[in-house]
């Protein structure tokens, strides 16, 4: 089974990204936020998101989204089991966007070593605290983790499909 995992901080757009390319009504586990996340959104994923897409060659790619909060990190291990690649989504307009990226690169380091990874920068249309894309490249370069980085709109299926195709290209190489 070809299984790709979407991860990243709260509010990065994981559920939205999976929903935008889903061929079926996505399986979600959204509940009402009661923590500080409520400032960003009303509902949050507590177990997983699931859906799938079928590529032009007929290959079905299963998509799993993780919860963003650290307290659900037990789900991260469960969901990455058997995965072929990782998509890390980061809110580009987050004041500590680079730290946020590094947190997930560290948390998923074991999985990243075994598979391919692409980075999607979301909320690029907001420019309150926006970090330049070059800073993300620099961060990855310093860590010796050269992954493709894309500015995307998680609501746009073509943008999210670009991430999937880039990840599959990384895996082939």
């Amino acid at each position: 089974m070809d299984k790709i995992i979407f991860t990243g901080p709260v509010g990065a757009g994981k559920t939205t990204a999976i929903g935008s390319i889903s061929e079926i009504p996505p399986v979600g586990t959204d509940v009402q936020c009661t923590d500080e996340s409520i400032e960003i959104k009303e509902k949050t994923t507590v177990a997983m998101d699931y859906s799938y897409i079928t590529l032009e060659d007929g290959t079905r790619i299963h998509l799993y989204g993780t919860p963003g909060q650290e307290r659900f990190n037990f789900m991260w291990n469960i969901l990455t089991t058997g995965g072929i690649g990782l998509v890390i989504l980061v809110n580009k307009d987050h004041p500590q966007a680079i730290d946020e990226l590094e947190r997930y690169l560290d948390a998923f380091s074991e999985f990243i070593e075994q598979t391919g990874t692409v980075i999607g920068l979301t909320k690029c249309d907001i420019n309150k605290h926006s970090t330049d894309i070059s800073m993300f490249h620099e961060c990855l370069y310093k860590r010796n983790q050269i992954f493709p980085v894309f500015e995307i709109d998680a609501r746009e299926s073509e943008d999210v499909k670009t991430l999937i195709h880039a990840l599959l290209a990384v895996l082939v190489n």
Binding site: V27, T29, D35, V46, R71
Partner: protein
């Protein structure tokens, strides 16, 4: 039960609401709900009240269980179960029951924002334990409806 009634009285007292004592009173009352639950049956070995998004609100545990981790796991399990029930029966979960040789855990919705997780040992009567848990949920609802 008297302590819980007192808490409800305090919560309906305008002075307490104004002075910001509400959270403290609620937490104390929820702690008492769990203590009462554990006192009702020696086979109930622990209980946690958590928010639906996995934050621990009150605990009564005999073992050194990580309440924060357990709250998050309970929330994930109940949310998955709700999704499963919603898609198969267009309904919400009454309870999630996990059984093992050493004991059982059940997780239930307490209110729309809270859930109750209860640990029972292998000797426990499941039906009775569920009934005690339901009584605890009635008390939680009474406390929160006093707000």
């Amino acid at each position: 039960m008297q302590i819980i009634n007192d808490a409800i009285t305090k919560l309906t007292d305008e002075n307490n609401t104004k002075s910001g004592n509400q959270d403290e009173i609620i937490n104390q009352a929820l702690d008492h709900v769990l203590k009462d639950l554990m006192a009702q049956c020696e086979n109930i070995k622990g209980a946690i009240i958590s928010s639906v998004d996995g934050i621990s609100c009150a605990t009564a545990l005999h073992d050194n269980l990580d309440q924060n981790r357990f709250s998050a796991m309970s929330s994930a399990l109940l949310a998955l179960s709700d999704t499963l029930m919603n898609e198969s029966h267009n309904d919400l979960t009454k309870n999630v029951l996990i059984e093992a040789n050493a004991g059982k855990i059940f997780i239930m919705h307490a209110t729309d924002k809270l859930l109750l997780s209860v640990f029972i040992d292998e000797q426990a009567n499941l039906g009775l334990s569920l009934a005690y848990a339901k009584q605890a949920i009635d008390k939680i609802e009474a406390i929160l409806s006093a707000l």
